[in-house]
Structure formats: C-alpha cells, structure tokens
C-alpha cells in the first residue's frame, strides 16, 4: 500500500491538545481528496490500437462486450470509475481513499496498471501521491489544518 505519512508534529501536538486528532484527520482527508482529484483528471481519448497484455485478455474483452459496441466511459451498467471514489476516516488521524470499481487497480494501480490504460494517460496511484507530495500540496493542507486549529485555540501570532 502506498501511503503518505504525517509526522514530526510533536511540538504542535501538545499545543493542539484534544484537538490534535481531529485536526490531523481533517488534513489527512483533505490530502486524500486532493489525490482523488489527480486520479479523476480526464486523461483524454483511448489510444488506438489498444495494447492488449495478452490475446486472451483481448478475447475476454470482446466476449464480455457482446453486442454492446465500443465502451463509453460511464455508460449504463459501467462501474463508473471516475465517480467511484470515496474517502473514509481511518483510525484517529488517518484517511483512506478507495474505489468501488472492481477494476480500479488495473487502471490506477502502480503494480497492476494495464498498458492500454497507461497509454491512454491514466496516472497510477503512486504518481498521484507523488504529485500531491512533491508539489507541496500535502504539506500545505497539514499546515492549513494546524494553523486553523491553533487560531481556534486562541493563538494570534
């Protein structure tokens, strides 16, 4: 599992007191939403020809489509990956981002992503996390949550 660790907050922990857990939980959930935003960014049209991993995979796909014709994102009956995400609280301070779409790992999983999805431009979970961390957005969300909590507790600088 790829994670973002929020740490090094021992000094503000004592200052935030009973608000510490909820403050970090808010930051963690905001970070998870930011990662979701990266994952659902439309990657553009499917790239042809489709790069199948195996002939068996291609045969399975066309057999499963039956007479429905070419797949359209979000079509009726689709698990609608783009709108399948949700953020849940994990423990006192954590958050987890998950998808209801059973095939999400084959589109976004850094280990399982299929070549045709990479070619289309879908980014992996790892790339999305790196983007949110490397851009400084994750830190900014923690900083915003901490400063907001400090102000609510009376800190005025």
């Amino acid at each position: 599992m790829i994670t973002i660790r929020i740490s090094g907050l021992s000094r503000v922990r004592s200052a935030l007191g009973a608000d510490y857990g909820s403050t970090i939980a808010v930051a963690a959930q905001a970070i998870a939403k930011q990662i979701e935003g990266e994952l659902v960014a439309p990657p553009g049209p499917v790239k042809h020809p489709i790069q199948w991993t195996t002939p068996r995979q291609r045969r399975w796909w066309y057999a499963s489509r039956g007479d429905r014709g070419p797949y359209k994102r979000g079509e009726a009956g689709s698990q609608d990956l783009l709108h399948s995400w949700s953020v849940a609280k994990r423990g006192a301070t954590g958050a987890v981002l998950g998808s209801r779409a059973t095939y999400a790992a084959y589109v976004h999983g850094s280990k399982l992503q299929q070549p045709m999805h990479r070619n289309t431009g879908w980014i992996t979970d790892e790339q999305a996390i790196r983007k949110v961390v490397d851009s400084g957005a994750a830190k900014d969300l923690v900083v915003d949550a901490v400063m907001g909590a400090l102000r609510r507790r009376g800190y005025r600088g």
Binding site: I4, R5, I6, G8, R130, V133, D140, V142, V143, G157
Partner: protein, 48 residues
C-alpha cells in the same frame, strides 16, 4: 529608496503564507531557529 523598501516589505507581508505563519509560530513558541522550524514543517507530510 525608503518608499521602495516599504513597497517591498508590503509585498512580502501580502505574500506571506500560512506556512510562514506556522514557521513563525514554531520559532516564537518553541524556540526553534528558522532553519529548524522550516525543516520541521517540511517533514510533516512525506510519501513512504
């Protein structure tokens, strides 16, 4: 010249981010140097 400096200071104040405010808090309330406070904030969110 003095007016230019005031304008520069004003720009700096206007561009001050919440991050800078937290760094200042760590320096004031926890007696950290600017370098230590900055390093501490930079360690708050890392991918593993």
């Amino acid at each position: 010249m003095a007016e230019n400096r005031r304008d520069t200071d004003k720009d700096m104040i206007q561009s001050e981010s919440v991050r800078d405010e937290v760094i200042r808090y760590l320096m004031a309330e926890h007696d950290l140097t600017l370098a230590d406070a900055t390093a501490e904030v930079n360690s708050w969110a890392e991918s593993t």
